[in-house]
Amino acid sequence: MKAITDQWVRGYRLGAIPLLLFFSACSQWTASFIDVRSNAETMVMGAYSATPELNQRAVQDPSQKICSLMPDESLTQDQMTFVTDAAKHSVSYPNSGHLTGDWKKGAELVADGTGQRIVNGQIEKLARNGALCNNCHQIDPKEVNAGNLGPSLVGYAKLRGRSETVIRYTYEKIYNAWAFLPCSNMPRLGANHFLTPEQIADVVAYLTDPQSPVNAP
């Protein structure tokens, strides 16, 4: 493992040296020809010294690349189709075939904002991640500690009902939010293996079960 890390780091250095020489030799006029986009990627490679597996997190997949729009850019039709199709194809379902699980387990997941953070090369919580929903959504009307990056989901099933279509949409939305809104700020929690299909089914139950506090009268 150590050898691989060293190799990885050295790989970066070797790449950076000619670049640096190039910079310093004639920086006054070459700077304007530097491809800042590949410069950014070189910097990302040099910003982390964890294992190759963890460093891999900073490498973009094709959809992330497309979704990194600069302020003056907007998605082309082709890009939109690419991201949406990739998202639709990514969705997989629980082995049981049931898209709703245990709403009480879902409640715990929704309130839990931890999981997968790295300190000193160690990942917190390998057994189970939180679902992070409350970081961004108000869901239980009584929850004080909820963010507003995403819309309120209070009364979710009271507003939408709990038809087959609603359940399927909710499951797939959580599995891969970009299947419905390419490049939205909501993470692709299932597709990125942050949550398992069974955990997503528990969260779907939490949003749609009539017993759940989300749908309290």
Partner: protein, 285 residues
């Protein structure tokens, strides 16, 4: 709980004691702000807390210590930092922060305050770089000299406007690269800086997220922000620390201290905050 807090206070030196009291105050205020927010008046609690602390900023203790550290002979070479060039000439700290990051001829690179301090402390004072880096962020048991030095140098630009020139081509490259990085999504949560800092009035849980695409908000974040006395950490934290913290929330691996990436992003942030009046150290949750 309070008793054990008090007991811990007694064990700490004076500087930490002030910090600790401030932490208790901040905890209280953040509770108050939580309540305020549940009553649909976001930010009020926090604003009051910031104002109270700004009147008696515990960060000033770090500023004082940083000033002493800067001028005393230290390290294997027993030299002060009075020959350290922060961009305006050897030993000149006044106004230096307002123009950082900038290009330095001796290192042939663009450096922020912290990477420049590393250079000076290694070259002039003879400290080992790895040792400095291992102590970059203070803990309750061990102070960080860098945090104190950054508090001092930052505050020595107080009442001056942030004024990054981007006159050297490599400074512009750093700015442009930092801008790309600000919008670059990656990691298991698909986050970019933009995800959390692209809209006004947003919160993660109860934490207000400054919209860094808006001039006034980024000026607040940068020129009255970092270095900041962080109540929940009982110490002064630097911009490098703030970036590591956000990077951690993004689920990326530990960000290398003073990495090019962090300097590029800082160049982007500081340039975007140009014109904002510097008031440091800030006070934060």
């Amino acid at each position: 709980m309070l008793i054990s807090l008090f007991f811990r206070c007694r064990l700490l030196n004076k500087q930490k004691q002030a910090g600790f009291l401030a932490m208790v105050l901040m905890l209280f205020l953040s509770l108050a702000s939580g309540l305020a927010q549940s009553l649909e008046t976001p930010q009020d609690g926090l604003a009051i807390g910031r104002q109270l602390l700004a009147e008696d900023n515990p960060g000033d203790l770090w500023t004082e210590r940083g000033k002493r550290l800067f001028h005393s002979n230290r390290g294997p070479k027993n030299k002060s930092l009075e020959t350290c060039d922060l961009g305006l000439g050897p030993g000149i700290t006044k106004g230096a922060f307002a123009q950082l990051p900038r290009y330095f001829n001796d290192t042939k690179s663009v450096q922020d305050l912290e990477s420049r301090l590393l250079t000076c402390m290694v070259e002039i004072q003879g400290f080992a770089r790895a040792e400095l880096i291992s102590r970059r962020f203070g803990t309750l048991d061990q102070d960080s000299d860098i945090e104190a030095l950054v508090a001092f140098i930052g505050s020595d630009s107080n009442n001056l406007p942030m004024n990054i020139g981007l006159s050297h081509p490599l400074e512009r490259v750093m700015y442009e690269t930092g801008k790309i990085l600000f919008y670059r999504r990656s990691g298991p949560l698909d986050f970019a800086c933009m995800t959390c800092h692209g809209e006004t009035g947003k919160r993660v849980r109860l934490q207000d997220l400054p919209n860094m695409t808006k001039k006034e908000e980024i000026q607040q974040a940068v020129t009255t922000g970092w270095p900041a006395y962080r109540g929940t950490h009982s110490t002064v934290r630097t911009m490098q620390h703030r970036l590591s913290d956000c990077n951690w929330q993004m689920r990326l691996p530990d960000l290398n201290y003073a990495s090019d990436l962090s300097v590029a992003i800082t160049t982007f942030l500081n340039y975007s905050a140009n014109g904002g009046l510097i008031k440091l150290p800030g006070v934060r949750r």
